[in-house]
Amino acid sequence: MGLRPLGTSNRSLPEPAFRMAGPTVFPTNSKKSWFVKLLTLTPLLLVLGAACSQGDLSTWNPAGPVANKQLELFNALVWVMAIVFVLVEGVLVYAIFRYRRRPGQPRPAQVHGNLPLEIAWTIIPTILIMGLGIWSVIALFEIKDPPSSDEYILEVTATGHQWWWEFEYPDAGGGKTITTANELRVPVDTSVVVKLESDDVIHSFWIPRLAGKVDVIPTHTNRTWFKANGDQIDTLPATFTGLCAEFCGTSHALMKFKVEVLEQADYDAWVSNYGDAPVLTAQAEQGKAVFAANCSSCHTATGPDNPAITNGRLVGFLAGAAIAPGPNLTDLATRKTFAAGLVDLNEENLTAWINNPTDIKPGNYMARKAPFYQDGTNTLSAGDVSSVIEYLLSLK
């Protein structure tokens, strides 16, 4: 990729609530397999035991009520699975040991079945399963909405695009409307309801450490919610990674976003500064002109998006014109990353992006649609590129 990948934050993560129990979850089969597997899988076991709870995307490392509840259910299921696994595989392994053929053995008793046994192993699993089922239905309704005790709920509309995320705050605080991209800023300990929309294909909105996924489907508006629990986060601001979980085309693997969890005061400051006219150097002024000539048909950089304009981009795109919905770049310089959470925001990476976006995000519409790319090759002069970057980096 040629670029420095985004580093994870080096906060120390809270002690996970759960670690996978070691060997019990491994299949143990016929007589030899037990030994063969233990031999081959011992190193694997050690690694797995240690690695279960790590990582910015780990569902074993939740930091909000939705993900907590989902993990709680999964943990209970793991125990049920482990117990059933050990019992059933245990009986299987015992049976093939115990009843292996011995030389000269006569034909064994021709047993055809056992009715009480059949009834027992139909009824007992049914009861067990129904118990789990009822519990999961209760949980389903429990995490359907934010707690009714919440006085303030932040509402955000997330729109999935091939292959980036748009976030729109109809009221980010104090009645202010904000449009931004690929970086969702939220205050800590606040419930955030996310309306999910798509104009192109199906995506899925997933922040593994905060909430399980909900699909983002054209013609259907879905809703999900999450909250970042302050007491499950060591230091603020904290960054969580979100991603698209439904296959959505060429660069599906690269369609990520960041959730920046801020102290309320920091969040409020960001909201009130959003869209303030940037201070521009002479070169940035030049860049602004380059931007207006080459970039502004797809990108807005001066505040929230105007629905009429964004709709025009979509209609043009569907008609095959040289236009596509592009991320809103207002206050770009306040973001840590760009290109759907893919690379750190800095001059070097921006230069690489503008010169060859396909190298960073294959299939992206910028290189396919913007007229200054000829067969994917940038035709802007180096001077234009550096002044437009100067302009972009002064957007704050």
Binding site: N29, C52, T59, F85, G133, L196
Partner: protein, 614 residues
């Protein structure tokens, strides 16, 4: 009419040379054709999996482009489902069902040949996308609106939908054939509750196929029309609904899962008793749990759609129905263990694969319960956890079951016992390789690695699991190579199997290996379940020698269906009709004419070849 009759003379019934494979209507030959074709596709799909495992073996790999990776997982999954596991099951249906029910062929032998040829042409159409480098790349589930123009501009999705439409013709024709065969052509005394379990599972599977394929056909026709004729069934901008596709796909797709697993369950239900020397434990419960699974498979499709936003009420209903389907599945597993219990277990390769099936299917079944729980599934859906689950049920399950069947019935149809030493090596490599490949996927999935990603960052701890999976793939690959070597070596030696190498209970073991074209010189009369055990044990009790295989008779004394070219002609017409959608609609017209001429010829050809009039 005289001239037409002159054109339509049927080929003689002599089965020799390459042409005899082209005009054959013999169910055993058609079964072999199905098996060999599907195994070839299995190898191709395995190589496609290898490309994926090579790409994912290292973080941020640039071995293949994202587009190639996306094509590989689409080709791999579509081929494995529609062109490997289904036709391998169909190979067993063809080889076995007439033998298992004491019949001389299927109910509609020419329709049977037609099914095979359509399957072959559908498979070739699908893979010809390689030749023009227009491979489908939207996943085997092909969710709209990614499959629509302008999001998928190449012809890949057209290859995908047209070849699946063609394959659907094959599946429905074959399934109808087997429903009629099993209902109508059983030997005297072979009541339904005496049917071998594999035959039962074939019947249930065939009924599911007949009912499920029309649903996907509707979806595929709509998709083809959207892409080629400007309709908007799934296109949001024209008022279509992309979710409609998901419902159509999964209403078909979930019964399809059981279409893939019920036949191997049937295989295992026959292998376990033979090598335990003990009848199947709880036969009626195995049969009825199969029926219950077949019926319930229609009521669980939305568990594939828990994250779609159907709402908590719908998700609750499908959580409960999905959890309940675990009960009949569990009943089967308990009865298989009950069959082993108290038995006299011989660890042949076939038995190892059957036990492996049970052991691995338990793992897949349990992880299935974990994502039946909708809230928990929200974290697992579309991650590698689900990839692990489906491979435990479809590889550890279906493929292991099919291998158990190959080693069990292989001697019947080749006349040769498969090498046991290489066979066991084959099993252990596949067993270890399968667990190495797929078990770590549970963990990497829960650690947040989504499915269908061509790359992943180095700093998330995903790499170690992927390295293990890729190593496991190598072991699996060697395991399959050992199977091929074993098969080729087996085929080079002299026939040594005898008619009944396993002291097995089924009727098919009472005739010679390989069976004569007419199967049974005399149609057997069935007195109970496991008829051949009844015969052998009666002889044993009377102190008489075990009866040898039924003696061969002069084939001309037995009326058998004559070979025919017409199924091939009609199948070719159907394939050309489909190819027209990929090239020029005019070609579809030509294909339709060919199919029509074929159908007229089919309907009018003499009932038997000149030489075999009786």
């Amino acid at each position: 009419m005289a001239t037409i009759a002159g054109v339509l003379v049927r080929p003689s019934g002599e089965y020799a040379g390459i042409w005899s494979w082209v005009y054959t209507v013999d169910h055993k030959r058609i079964g072999v054709l199905y098996g060999i074709t599907a195994f070839m596709v299995f190898l191709v799909a395995g190589v496609e999996a290898g490309v994926m495992r090579a790409q994912l073996a290292t973080a941020e790999s640039t071995l293949v482009s994202p587009d190639v990776f996306n094509q590989m997982f689409t080709m791999h999954a579509t081929a494995m489902v529609f062109m490997v596991i289904m036709p391998l099951s169909a190979a067993f249906f063809n080889l076995l069902i007439p033998l298992a029910i004491g019949a001389r062929d299927v109910a509609f032998p020419r329709l049977n040949a037609f099914s095979y040829w359509v399957f072959l042409f559908g498979t070739l159409t699908f893979h010809s996308s390689f030749l023009v480098n227009q491979l489908p790349d939207a996943g085997w589930f092909a969710y709209a609106s990614l499959t629509e123009k302008p999001y998928s501009l190449g012809a890949g999705l057209d290859f995908w939908s047209v070849s699946l439409l063609v394959l659907g013709v094959s599946s429905v024709a074959a399934a109808l054939n087997f429903v009629v065969t099993i209902i109508n052509m059983r030997a005297p005394g072979l009541s339904l509750m005496r049917l071998p379990v594999f035959t039962w599972m074939t019947l249930i599977t065939s009924i599911l196929l007949v009912l499920a394929f029309p649903v996907i056909t509707v979806g595929l026709v709509e998709l083809t029309m959207d892409r080629n004729f400007g309709t908007h069934f799934f296109m949001p901008e024209g008022g279509g609904d992309p979710l409609l596709w998901q419902h159509l796909f999964w209403v078909f797709g979930h019964p399809e899962v059981y279409i893939l697993i019920l036949p191997p369950m049937g295989v295992v239900s026959e292998v376990l008793p033979t090598f335990s020397r003990k009848p199947l434990f709880g036969y009626p419960f195995i049969v009825f749990s199969g029926l219950v699974i077949g019926i319930m498979s229609w009521a669980v499709w939305s568990h594939h759609m828990f994250t779609v936003g159907l709402g908590p009420v719908a998700n609750s209903v499908f959580t409960i129905t999905t959890m309940l389907i675990a009960v009949p599945t569990g009943v089967k597993i308990f009865n298989w263990i009950g069959t082993l219990w108290g038995g006299s277990i011989e660890f042949t390769t076939s038995m190892l694969f059957a036990i492996g099936f049970v052991a691995l299917f338990i793992v897949g079944g349990l992880s299935g319960v974990s994502h039946a729980v909708a809230p928990s599934d929200a974290q697992q859906q579309d991650t590698y956890y689900v990839v692990a689950h489906i491979h435990y049920v479809l590889f550890g399950g279906s493929i292991f079951g099919i291998f158990a069947g190959i080693y069990y019935w292989g001697p019947k149809f080749t006349g040769r016992l498969f090498g046991e030493r290489l066979g066991k090596l084959n099993f252990w490599l596949m067993f270890v390789g399968m667990n190495l490949t797929f078990f770590p996927m549970h963990f990497v999935g829960m650690n947040g690695m989504p499915r269908r990603v061509y790359t992943y960052p180095a700093d998330l701890g995903f790499e170690i699991y992927n390295v293990i999976s890729s190593l496991g793939y190598v072991v699996l690959f060697i395991g399959i190579a050992v199977f091929i070597v074993n098969y080729l070596r087996t085929m080079r030696k002299e026939p040594d199997a005898g008619h009944d190498p396993w002291d097995a209970p089924g009727l098919e073991w009472s005739i010679s290996s390989p069976p004569p074209a007419y199967n049974f010189a005399e149609i057997p009369v069935v007195e109970g379940r496991d008829q051949y055990w009844i015969v052998k044990q009666r002889a044993e009790a009377a102190g008489e020698p075990i009866p040898p295989a039924e003696a061969h008779v002069d084939p001309s004394t037995i009326h058998m269906p004559s070979p025919s070219f017409w199924p091939l002609v009609v199948a070719f017409g159907v394939a050309i009709l489909g190819a027209g959608i990929l090239t020029h609609v005019g070609l579809s017209f030509v294909g339709g004419v060919i199919a029509f001429i074929g159908a007229v010829g089919w309907a009018n050809e003499p009932a038997a070849a000149e030489a075999t009039h009786h």
